[in-house]
Symmetry: C2
Subunit: 411 residues, 2 copies
């Protein structure tokens, strides 16, 4: 992609009203645009990051037998009345339709997926089943805050599992937890993301959250000093020791919840009469589980975890481009850079070329740091004198000269 | 994919209340599920088709310099008030938010993309620009009908173009029209889809629709008997002759609108003060165009155009799987089919294997015809006696025996 053609505008000055570091950086670098409080557009750069995160999540959900589908955002009121959440879920958007219809705007999809599953599940032979969706959800938050960390409209992956018995379900639940750890690792925040025991809300005694350590987080968690488990503050009083290793020493940390897995049990099977006929001929309720990850929040959490005073530092797995090719003034430079751009593209490398002629080197370097693409390749008259380009990893200070002909070996 | 594990349930009986052939077939074959009037879930089979259509559209939009982004569904009321459409667009969903906020639920995105473009367009040097989005839109239709052809919630691609002058804009508009023709051709409905002159509504005198001939369509169009242009009935009275070849003879056909391109001109630039500084230093309004395709409607139109009394006949480009492997009873058969399944998968071929043992051959064949996967490969004791499998294209009657070892040459 040529940078002069890219639909974005970077701003070198800190935004005065930013709600968090990730908010400031993502807006200033042109990844997202705030339409209003809690509602964001993902510009081409941000969209690419989102798609990369989506790809990592999709791959890992397919590896644990997830089948992808797409559920509606408009839900019939009666489904939410049936579970009692029409009145009890205060963040539920409600809207009038044609005639005297009333809809809920999907803030989660149990009320849709349970009755849907009832249409395909009849016998124990139909189970287990696992479906997932990656799509927009809506929450009428009283106060949206922290940029894309807590919004009124956001992108989520939710997987729903359907099982005949607790034992098999528990095995799958642990498998899903492992898949989550893999996802956060692949997104570059594995080391600071903790499986965290939390309240199960109205569903079960406990649930498992995945919490990423950051000062922008709204949650307080207690990380076991001996193993890698954490406990959410909300249940700390009742859980004095680590449930994994029995240690009683914890470190308090601020964190943001990037994922959450729940044992729903029969909470939603019962109101929708979702059951199966077992081997013994008896009808039994299906056991459900749900497994969520907020993609847009995850994108924000990655930036919170990976930046410096100059800008974003994207892990390569989610970066919008792998290489930022920056050409400085000079006629010869432009030709050499164009050739390099083509050869990188031909090798299947995602490259953004800053070929703009109305920016000085200082501006180009500052913007490159702000954008946070993993590898910067600078072509200038000086580097060309040595038949070379200058390579610099965004995450490191070291620059090195590499022969133009050897570039593909280094990227 | 193993068919016994697939999240779906086929129904061999015609649904009594189907609104169109595509509605009946897509629901019965387990591609979509109707949640309520005008609102559908896309089950794993339907999701795959949707993704294939999306891939074709995305590729062609990128080829005409489209940059993908994602715009919000929640829009601030004031943006719609500013264009006058808060009151005039009767299908606009309006919903209350926290506090005394009011939102529109995006039925189209001019009210969001024009003010967004204002943040990145300043000078003639920033133009032209082209962005597109593939996402859910909402319309509060009084009567939703014809299954997924006209719904309250649907998936659309919209590209928006931004130009400095009419001449360059017109060139791009024709380029986009050509891209549209390519998309419909790749989706297998090129021959029955006509570029159709239609009213430009409140935007311009004329617009161009892309209409696919089908009895389920709500539009009447007049197809020129000499060239390939058509005219929508709504402007037939004022357009007596074909604008392309001057012919005055037309054939009347029922059709469904699968795409629509508009010259918006300054209709949305003016209210949002979207302008650029030209070479001469003067500020001028940006010229906008918009280019829509309804993906879910397109999926329905493909089924309307391509089916028989037994079921769907997917064009290979959009089919959920390329091969439907059907194994009949027999221990040896299962082993041979499993081996074949693996070798097809290893060759990168998308294959659905009907390995179910509780279905008889007649049921399996009927369901295979209903699902409409392009190529059926049957393995039975009879075919294995000849070291062969039976091959049948869904679109043709002819079956042929092919040696097992030669299968990859034939699929």
């Amino acid at each position: 992609m040529l940078q002069s053609k890219l639909f974005y505008k970077a701003n070198k000055n800190k935004t005065g009203n930013a709600e968090s570091v990730s908010h400031d950086l993502l807006v200033r670098a042109g990844y997202v645009d705030q339409l209003m409080a809690g509602v964001y557009s993902f510009l081409p750069l941000g969209f690419k990051v989102l798609k990369n995160i989506e790809g990592i999540i999709r791959k890992n959900m397919e590896m644990i037998d997830g089948q992808e589908l797409l559920l509606p955002s408009l839900h019939p009121k009666e489904n939410w009345v049936r579970t009692g959440r029409w009145d009890s879920l205060d963040v539920l958007f409600k809207l009038p339709g044609a005639g005297d219809k009333e809809y809920a705007l999907g803030s989660t999809h149990e009320e849709v997926v349970a009755p849907l599953a009832k249409k395909v599940i009849f016998s124990y032979k139909d189970l287990p089943l696992h479906v997932f969706q990656i799509q927009t959800k809506f929450r009428n938050e009283l106060r949206a805050k922290s940029g894309i960390l807590r919004t009124r409209e956001f992108i989520m992956k939710d997987l729903y599992s359907f099982y005949t018995n607790q034992e098999d379900f528990d095995v799958y639940y642990e498998k899903a937890a492992k898949a989550y750890e893999k996802i956060f690792k692949e997104c570059g925040i594995g080391k600071i993301t903790y499986r965290t025991l939390a309240s199960g809300g109205t569903f079960s005694k406990y649930s498992d959250e995945f919490q990423t350590i950051t000062d922008a987080g709204e949650d307080l968690i207690y990380v076991c000093t001996r193993c890698s488990l954490a406990i959410n503050k909300e249940i700390k009083a009742e859980t004095l020791k680590c449930t994994a290793c029995n240690n009683a020493e914890f470190e308090e940390k601020k964190a943001v919840e990037v994922g959450n897995i729940f044992k729903l049990g029969t909470k939603f099977s019962t109101p929708f009469d979702l059951k199966f006929t077992d081997r013994d001929g008896h009808d039994k309720p299906v056991l459900m589980g749900c497994y969520g990850i907020g993609l847009s929040r995850l994108m924000g959490a990655i930036v919170e975890a990976s930046h410096d005073e100059k800008g974003i530092i994207w892990p390569e797995s989610v970066a919008p481009f792998k290489v930022h090719l920056v050409s400085l003034p000079g006629a010869k430079v432009k030709t050499a850079a164009a050739k390099l751009y083509k050869s990188l593209q031909s090798a299947g490398i995602q490259v953004l070329w800053d070929e703009r002629e109305n920016k000085n080197p200082g501006e180009k370097f500052a913007e490159s740091d702000l954008l946070g693409i993993p590898l910067r390749v600078v072509v200038s008259e000086k580097t060309l004198e040595k038949n070379s380009v200058e390579l610099k990893e965004r995450a490191k200070d070291l620059m090195k000269l590499v022969k133009v002909k050897d570039i593909l070996k280094h990227v």
